[in-house]
């Protein structure tokens, strides 16, 4: 009897999980106040620095503001591409994170700001993510996604890889890190104040790992690769058609 119940719940879970991963951002109402405050405190410095940089750059480069706004909108649209992937649940569509792309184009700090704005709009319009969970979502998608993507791209470039592969690595890494961030955010929910710190930590780490594995096994693992390829193709497309854009944004150096 119990076996059957368990089986049913596992089947349900397996059916649901890809959709959860598809939502990607932690939903409103899930985080208790202490975690809400924790995450907000953690990401606010990044947002402030990002805003500050934007403001400074806006003065020097007058067209920077519409540029950031429009690239922001483009990345938002990009993050809604229905990319077909093959996961545990068969063929499904998933959505790229997009922050890898924006970090490569505009730098990690500005990319955090853009991610924040995108998350805010998504929370309101799509009910993906939420307002009290904005902090943790900015952490996973904005901070982790942007910085990892940016540094992966630069590192790949330093290693002399072709633009496609630089973009590929940036896409893969930032996507992975975004999911890692979400898993951390969720895993910490089982953290109990009354257990000793190390035990609680162990507990949460186990949950994080489980969540991460589940994410990866459903459709997000293949998605990482797919996002990498798409970002790689997109960048090399721009390079072929309008290289000046990449030069001007200092994505690559002009020969």
């Amino acid at each position: 009897m119990k076996k059957i119940l368990l089986g049913i719940s596992i089947v349900i879970a397996l059916l649901l999980l890809p959709h959860v991963a598809y939502a990607m951002h932690i939903t409103e109402g899930i985080l208790p106040p202490k975690w809400v405050i924790f995450w907000f405190v953690l990401v606010i410095p990044f947002v402030v620095i990002g805003t500050f940089r934007l403001k400074k750059k806006k003065k020097v480069v007058p067209g920077f503001l519409p540029l950031v706004g429009l690239v922001g909108a483009a990345v938002f649209v990009f993050s809604c591409f229905p990319i077909p992937v093959i996961g545990l649940n068969g063929m499904a569509t998933a959505h790229p994170a997009g922050t890898g792309m924006s970090a490569v184009l505009l730098g990690p700090f500005v990319s955090v700001v853009i991610a924040g704005i995108a998350l805010f709009i998504q929370a309101l319009f799509l009910a993906h993510g939420g307002l009290t969970t904005l902090g943790v979502n900015i952490f996973s998608m904005g901070v982790l996604g942007s910085f990892s993507g940016y540094f992966a791209f630069r590192l790949a470039q330093r290693m002399g890889l072709k633009l496609f592969w630089c973009g590929f690595i940036a896409g893969v890494v930032s996507d992975l890190c975004t999911y890692m961030g979400t898993s951390i955010g969720l895993g910490l929910l089982v953290f109990e104040g009354d257990e000793s710190f190390s035990v609680a930590m162990m507990h949460s780490a186990k949950a994080m790992l489980e969540i991460f594995v589940v994410f990866m096994a459903t459709s997000q693992g293949p998605l990482c690769i797919a996002e990498g390829i798409v970002v790689g193709f997109a960048l090399s497309y721009v390079y072929k058609v309008r290289p000046s854009i990449l030069y001007n944004l200092r994505v690559i150096k002009e020969q």
């Binding site: 649901l16 706004g69 997109a234």
Partner: protein, 260 residues
Amino acid sequence: MEILKHVVMDHFAQRRNWLTNIEVRVKLFYIGIGLVLNILSNDITLPLLFFVTSLILLMTIKVSFLTLGLRMMMPFLFGIFIMIIMGLHKGETVVLSGTLFGYELAFKKEGLQIGLLLFTKVAGGVMLMLLLSFTTTITKICMAARWMKMPETLIEVLSFVYRYLFLLIEETETMMSSQRSRLGYVTWFKTIKSFGSLGGMLIIRSITRAESAHVAMVSRGYDGGRVLTVQLNPLVRSDYALFLSCGVLLTFLSYLGFFW
């Protein structure tokens, strides 16, 4: 793009009805307090109350169940997911157990209870958020944010994103259609490749648009100053009355022992 087509639309907020007419600061204040109380609450009554009240309010402005259902789907699934996680990780009393691929799994009663609470919080919180987004345009939120002295730059970027989002969605759709009509999406690899060039075109598009938008801004006298100027009307007596009634409501609720 389906996802965008179905839900990124603020036409409900563009309509005129009694909820959209409420002063945006009042609305933000209420929703803000609601969201905070929602995550503070220790039992399921308050979240459920929020869920039902918001639902009823949304019904009064004729938002269809289908629309709401579409938007609630994702959060609900997330709620179930979180219930499973909690069930697996919190508490002592095992109600169900077994192995999956050799991995020990055990659902516990306390955890499931916490999970259920979280689930109702998701329902309540998301419904509150929808109440806000179905009745308030981003522009109004921008205005309120400026009134609250949020950094001007952030608000300006937000308004740019909002302004051009719809246009880019539409253009992307046309580009995708023309790729599709030349069979750009027939195999997996071609699909990915087509998405790649679509992404590339999108970047180029957005950057040339940004250039021409900047040119237009300059020709209208822009030199790094403000982009948004229209201000909110000052708060009037009825707005204060609404603020005040919130205080009364809170006292009443706390008198009933809702918060502790």
